[in-house]
Amino acid sequence: MLRLERRAQPSRVMAWCSPLLAVALTALIGSVLFMVVGKDPVASLRVFFLEPIRDLRGWSEVGVKVAPLLVIAVGLSICFRANVFNIGAEGQLVVGAIAAGALILHLDDDTNGGALLISLALLAGVAGGMAWAAITALLRDRFHANEILVSLMLVYVAELLLSYLVHGALIDPDGFGFPQSRLFSDGWLLPVVLPGTRLHVGIVLALVAAVAGWLYLTRSFSGFKLQVGGIAPMAARYAGFSSRSSLWISLLVSGGLAGLAGAAEVMGPIGQLTPSISPGYGFAAIIVAFVGRLHPLGVIFSSFIMALFYIGGELSQSRLGMPSAVTGIFQGILLFALLACDVLIHNRLRWSR
């Protein structure tokens, strides 16, 4: 019989192989599921893993999805390492988008724009996300309210707030009553880095965030304190590391980055405020962070995989006649697969009679 035997020491090799194994396992389970519903499994896998990156245009579209996923996942990696479970990145993204969008709609006069004002709008997004996450931090810090539940409840509040604004204060006056804002003028849109595609400068910001996050965690004292607090709270307390400052830093950083993602989405591919600006990037980024081993550079890999799932879901509608909701199933399976594979870090499989 196959059984688990505890390793004397956690395996470093498995720690890095487990995400790869999880992706392979997800592909395997996915193809079985496709077979069950009567689709050709090989063709289906091609739609998810090869079609999206067949040409430069495909790569650029993947990049458009990587940008928000990566930038949020970097923040969440830092947050989860501090053992602070910010599950509400989706809400922080939405508030970031609202802040940036409101600023643009207020200042935009069809002639202005440019690098300085774009940066200002992005900063507004960061501030918006930070402010939203600060509510969670404050309630946790002052009143010990569980950050998982509070941040999650605030997602619903943020989405309703966005819906309220695009139905009212920020609605396009010439939009025939459609619940959306007017389009931002060109001067306020993020510059495209690859001519002829939609790939905007957000991808560069995301990569910069990843490197900065890595430097913060590995090269700064603050990042060190934060991680000690996450792994061994008692040791951190003994050393005099403040758990409060870790809480605030991790929530503000992850909230700010989620807000940045929201701002970049509305100033990039969307170009206006609409009632639904994110296909669940904030939640998908949780999976991205875990699959990337909560490592700011590891999440580059996992956000790429997650972006493939998003594009694959869109493609499967036209190529396979499968609804794009299939993406959501893949996301869940991926996290399950990772959690199951992670068991092998601390255990090994043994045949025994």
Binding site: L4, I286, F290, G332, L335, L339, D342
Partner: protein
């Protein structure tokens, strides 16, 4: 007074799924396991129940299917966390994310379908003026949830088995050294929590609405999680909390219907904001929470270590 009757009636109906899910989670958490997957399990319970009832015409079968599917999901959660030692928070989240995605996928053919609402009445009592329409014309599960509340209170506080469950939640090591199989006891509690979440989801799609809309649980699974904290892990307080939240939900609908000049989106925020407020009020006193919270909540136990 006559206007109050439908208000109370609908608050009870709105509170029932919260109560069912929260009661399941309460037993679950009393054994020391926190399952953040309730939102996903409720959604899967809702769509399975809806599809089953639509196909078979039987509500009983629908409820059963909803409970079984959610129970299977919780069984998978139990295997990952209790036997393989996976992190409870991450695994529960995975369950919720999976449930949201899978129910959206499975529910596509059922969008826009609806079931014939069913009428119930408690014999004799339903004719009492005011009280009759307010309290005695509900689906049997509304009363079932109330009964379940008392049964769980009795089970946890007055039976030997309940004492063992609490012991496992407070100190699995002690329970283990007394010879109790901690993992199996936790499995049973997690399965019970799953079944309750499934019933709660089924109640939403079969009785409360009764139709299927993607994401129709709308955070109730998470609110149910908050309710267990709000109730400081006591069943009767769960009932109070669930009806309170049911009341808030219904109040927002009624305010909209009455034409209160507040945007519907702002009114819809109320249940979520109320959850946050309630969490803050109850968690304010850290010592009190620590006193009531199962001591090993969220911590895995490995009998071989």
């Amino acid at each position: 007074m006559d206007a109050l009757a439908p208000l109370i009636a609908s608050a009870m109906v709105a509170g029932t799924p919260l109560m069912l899910a929260a009661l399941g989670l309460l037993v679950n958490e009393r054994s020391g396991v926190i399952n953040l997957g309730s939102e996903g399990m409720m959604l899967m319970g809702a769509i399975t129940a809806f599809a089953t009832t639509l196909a078979s015409g039987s509500f009983t079968l629908g409820f059963l299917a909803g409970a079984v599917v959610a129970m299977l999901m919780s069984g998978f959660f139990a295997w990952l966390t209790i036997w393989l030692g996976a992190n409870q928070v991450a695994t529960g989240l995975a369950l919720s994310l999976f449930g949201v995605g899978a129910s959206a996928y499975l529910g596509l053919p059922y969008a826009g379908e609806s079931l014939q609402p069913i009428q119930f009445a408690v014999p004799l009592l339903h004719d009492i003026p005011v009280l009759g329409p307010a309290l005695f014309r509900h689906h049997p599960l509304v009363y079932g949830a109330i009964a379940l509340c008392f049964v769980i209170a009795w089970f946890l506080m007055r039976t030997r088995a309940g004492l063992i469950v609490r012991a496992v939640g407070e100190s699995p090591t002690s329970a283990h050294s007394l010879g109790y199989d901690v993992r199996r006891i936790r499995l049973a509690c997690v399965l019970f929590g799953g079944a309750c979440a499934g019933l709660a989801g089924a109640f939403m799609s079969l009785v409360y609405t009764p139709l299927w809309v993607e994401g129709m649980v709308a955070g109730r699974g998470w609110i149910a999680l908050a309710l267990t904290t709000f109730a400081t892990w006591r069943p009767l307080r769960v009932m109070a909390g669930a009806y309170l939240f049911g009341g808030i939900t219904i109040l927002t609908y009624h305010m909209q219907a009455l034409g209160v000049p507040i945007a519907s989106q702002l009114l819809s925020m109320l249940p979520y904001i109320a959850t946050v407020v309630v969490l803050v009020l109850i968690s304010r006193n850290a010592a009190w929470i620590r006193l009531n919270m199962p001591a090993s909540l969220g911590k895995n136990f490995n009998p071989n270590a």
